[in-house]
């Protein structure tokens, strides 16, 4: 019996019946196509005819896109799930119990979490493919994969945009957050299930928009959409603005939902002092999202209006630096939105794997919160090369001291592992690798925080290596750790430990071999955004490309392994294979129709392994 059914019945808004309908995703695509054609035609042929009346103009494609996204959302089920019930109408909405439930609108946080995980993996594969194309191009100093630099730069932009907005900010938050947070805080649903159901379907729309942007023309700005260059670019930049708008709106809805869930849906006894570390991570990240996403949405909206009306705000406001400032005002919190969940995961997984009490937990929480606060005060370190000297010092100061709360994550991790009986499972190994990689990212971050050093390293491959160490090295490695750690929870099955570890070592070696050499490339004078570069840099670029491609293969093999074990791994006869005390493992694996038949009552810490007592009063259904 699907859990969606019971959830919907609980909402009392949807009535089941046996009526046949088109598969929701197909219906959504069809409705989107129809809506696009209608609204695009209205604008380009009726309301806003241009000279030589092209069928698709910048204005028409924007309005057509808006209509298409709304129609897509309605088509996948928002019509029956939200709109009709809102007007008191009876709806007929059949929810299948098999895989098809993942391909339609849902209000079940676990289904939504899985949908987010699929979507962000899709984004990861697409943007990863773009990265492979880029590295293939850089294998050789001349243009040989792409026919022109603009095509290369568009690929760079698609890679960065999709990775940032559909993987970095989504994978651990929309995916694991939606699935696990209600389980971890002892709730059967999230605070705003309908909102959450809508938000997921914006992700595929956003990814598709960004990926299809070359249909409208190249854009050469990279993921930042820098003005005034963006103002010169052909119309592809319009789909960049629109795609990012869809993706950030999705993340904003996730943030609202997760914040409210953590604040208001906690089980009795789950006090602020007992909030799980991963939930702390989700809470801080969600607050960052709530603060900064609206800011960047307004910026991109102004950029979009500049492209379609035109309303040249950023070129007429006085200085092109305005755009850079408001972009990085969001841009730096963004990288902490990506990495803070990883910090939280280290502190979640290590005590379980070591069966040892979490060390200095309060400092771990303080670290997460202060990283969140300070991340809004460092943005202009992205602009040392173009700001006046007098502005450098404060930003350099805050950038350096953000390493203090970041270090607390290490303090907690190290103290927890010390003298533990640390089980070296695949998640443990990936967490250790993530700690190592982020250390390199952090140390090079201290170098980049120094303005005089930054003036040499900025906009070079050193910076590329630095932020890939923090994003792939920390976040993606932790993301895979999370997959292996919670695979038994999702599927009730276990992965193959030997395959998992071998592949973990594989990606660790390939990643470090590829990206460490990028530091050297940067120091040696390799600048960013170049498909063509001087010959002396070719040997090292060749090596980087080979290892990068091996890294890509390693990631795909991980995915194949996880996907295979999801359905064919050995079945567990234990709901809690890691012997964790956190709440999500007290529910069945995989959870049944509802997470908890009886809402658990929390009586002590989840991270105290000094005795065998569980953190909940009479864990439901002792096995």
């Amino acid at each position: 019996m699907s859990s969606i059914v019971s959830d919907l019945k609980g909402d009392g808004s949807t009535v089941m019946s046996g009526r046949k309908m088109m598969p929701p995703v197909v219906r959504g695509l069809l409705w989107a196509l129809i809506a696009f054609l209608i609204f695009n035609t209205l604008i380009s042929e009726v309301f806003d005819r241009m000279p030589y009346h092209p069928f698709v103009t910048r204005a028409s494609v924007t309005v057509g896109w808006l209509a298409a996204v709304c129609a897509w959302l309605l088509g996948v089920g928002v019509w029956e799930g939200v709109v009709k019930p809102a007007f008191g109408r009876e709806t007929h909405w059949e929810t299948p119990t098999d895989w098809r439930k993942y391909f339609m609108y849902s209000t079940d946080h676990r289904v939504i979490g899985m949908q987010y995980i699929f979507s962000s993996f899709g984004g990861f594969l697409i943007a990863g493919f773009a990265a492979m194309l880029m590295r293939l191009e850089l294998l050789n100093r001349n243009l040989w994969v792409f026919s022109n630099p603009g095509a290369y730069l568009s690929t760079v932009g698609i890679h960065g945009t999709v990775m940032m907005f559909s993987v970095g900010t989504v994978g651990l938050v929309g995916g694991f957050g939606n699935y696990l947070i209600p389980l971890m805080i002892g709730s059967n649903k999230s605070a705003f299930p309908r909102l959450s159901g809508i938000s997921q379907w914006l992700v595929p729309a956003g990814i598709a928009t960004v990926v299809l942007s070359p249909l409208l023309g190249q854009w050469t700005t990279g993921w930042r959409g820098y003005q005034p260059l963006a103002g010169q670019d052909p119309a592809g930049i319009v789909f960049y603005y629109l795609g990012v708008f869809a993706l950030t709106t999705s993340s904003l809805m996730v943030a609202i939902n997760l914040t409210a869930t953590i604040l208001f849906k906690r089980a009795p006894g789950l006090t602020w002092n007992r909030i799980p570390m991963f939930a702390w991570g989700m809470l801080t990240v969600s607050l960052l999202n709530l603060i900064w996403l609206p800011e960047i949405q307004m910026t991109f909206l102004l950029g979009l209006l500049g492209a379609i009306i035109p309303l040249p705000f950023f070129t007429q406001v006085g200085s092109p630096l305005t755009y850079l400032e408001v972009f990085w005002l969001f841009g730096h919190p963004e990288v902490y939105i990506v990495v803070v969940p990883a910090f939280a995961l280290w502190q979640e997984i290590l005590p379980v794997m070591g069966q040892k009490t979490l060390f200095a937990r309060q400092w771990g929480v303080i670290g997460l919160v202060f990283v969140m606060i300070l991340s809004g005060m460092v943005w202009a370190h992205h602009m040392f090369t173009n700001m006046s000297n007098g502005q450098m010092l404060p930003f350099s100061f805050f950038t350096e001291i953000i390493s203090i709360p970041t270090g607390f994550a290490y303090l907690v991790a190290i103290g927890t592992m010390w003298r533990a009986r640390l089980r070296l499972t695949t998640p443990t190994l990936l967490v250790l690798m993530s700690l190592f990689n982020f250390l390199i990212g952090g140390v090079t971050g201290v170098m980049l925080a120094d303005p005089v050093v930054n003036l040499q390293l900025h906009d070079s491959f050193f910076v590329i290596a630095h932020f890939h160490y923090t994003i792939i090295g920390a976040m993606i490695f932790s993301w895979f750790a999370a997959f292996y750690y919670w695979l038994p929870k999702f599927s009730g099955r276990m992965y193959n430990e030997r395959v998992g570890k071998t592949l973990a070592v594989w990606i660790f070696i390939a990643f470090n071999a590829a990206f460490f050499q990028m530091f050297l490339l940067g120091l040696h004078g390799m600048n960013r955004w170049v498909p063509v570069y001087p010959g002396y840099l070719q040997p090292m670029n060749f090596e980087v490309s080979i290892f990068a491609i091996l890294l890509g293969i390693g990631f795909v093999l991980h995915l194949i392994h996880i996907a295979w074990m999801w359905h064919h791994g050995p079945l567990l006869n234990d709901r809690n294979p890691w012997r964790s005390k956190t709440l999500e493992w007290q529910a069945a694996s995989p959870p049944g129709a509802v997470n908890f038949e009886k809402i658990p009552h929390v009586v002590r810490s989840f991270y105290d392994y000094s005795d065998e007592r569980m953190a909940v009063e009479e864990p439901a259904g002792e096995r």
């Binding site: 050469t220 450098m392 592992m417 190592f436 170098m447 303005p451 005089v452 004078g525």
Partner: protein, 268 residues
């Protein structure tokens, strides 16, 4: 206690080896190739940070490895760790104090001290006899002119822009981004970044603003000696971005005068 001693010994060994490696790297130049005093200042700051961070880096890496090897277990069965503790106030206090002190130190030196030095080198009183080079960045070309010598556009025999600089001289680059061939569109300019990797620093060029970059050359060299001696746009400026480069030569004063005379002949 045994674990602590074992760890500390391993940490010291790795840190010392690391420092030795860094000192070897420093002798080979951390920036590969630097031809300005400003670049050397940056390189020294870089070296100072690395030197201080090696023990920190070694602490964490050795800790991760030590934990993994000493306390790691390949058995999958969960077994409670015999040692359990919530906190260690001494360790946490030392950690926090050291991380604060290290950050304050980095802020004072090299951050503030090196910026101070940079401010100073840009003071007008130190720059009365600079060679002025006007740099114009257009999409996608560098244009160099030498107003003190009446050279309006320095170029080689093929018409490609070249940058010639005398050795042991302070150069004041005046940086502007606009298209002198399309002056009817004042908004055509985009952000560029003036970067000679061997200079050890760069400066972005913002349309509508005039910016300055001061360097003091200290080595006779050229693009053919080391390809890092080239002007390269470092900020994405459209499809032509990778091609926006120009070779640089740093020559003796006599050779520079000869080059000026040759440029003037070319111009007339």
């Amino acid at each position: 206690m045994g674990d602590i001693i074992g760890f500390v010994v391993a940490w010291i060994v790795v840190a010392v080896l690391g420092e030795w490696g860094v000192s070897v790297l420093k002798q080979h130049s951390l920036y590969y190739y630097t031809i300005t005093t400003q670049g050397l200042d940056g390189e020294n700051a870089f070296g100072f940070i690395i030197t201080l961070l090696v023990p920190v880096f070694a602490f964490i890496v050795v800790m991760l490895l030590y934990n993994m090897i000493r306390f790691g277990s390949l058995k999958l069965q969960a077994q409670r760790s015999p040692k359990q503790f919530y906190n260690n106030k001494v360790f946490v206090s030392v950690w926090i104090v050291i991380s604060i002190l290290l950050n304050l130190l980095f802020f004072v030196h090299p951050t503030a001290s090196a910026i101070e030095q940079m401010f100073n080198s840009e003071e007008a009183r130190y720059n009365r006899h600079d060679l002025i080079v006007n740099v114009t960045a257009r999409q996608w070309q560098w244009l160099f002119s030498y107003p003190q010598y009446g050279i309006t556009q320095a170029q080689d025999a093929n018409g490609n822009s070249v940058l010639y600089l005398p050795n042991d001289r302070t150069i004041k680059f005046v940086l502007r981004s606009y298209d002198p061939f399309h002056t009817y569109d004042p908004n055509a300019g985009v952000v560029h970044s003036f970067w000679v990797p061997a200079f050890g620093m760069k400066q972005d060029i913002i349309p509508g603003e005039t910016r300055y970059l001061y360097i003091h050359t200290n080595k006779i060299t050229s693009y053919s000696v080391n390809p890092m001696v080239r002007v390269q746009c470092a900020e994405v400026c459209g499809p032509g971005h990778p091609f926006m480069e120009a070779p640089v030569s740093v020559v003796s004063n006599a050779d520079f005068q000869a080059w000026v005379a040759q440029q003037k002949k070319l111009q007339s």
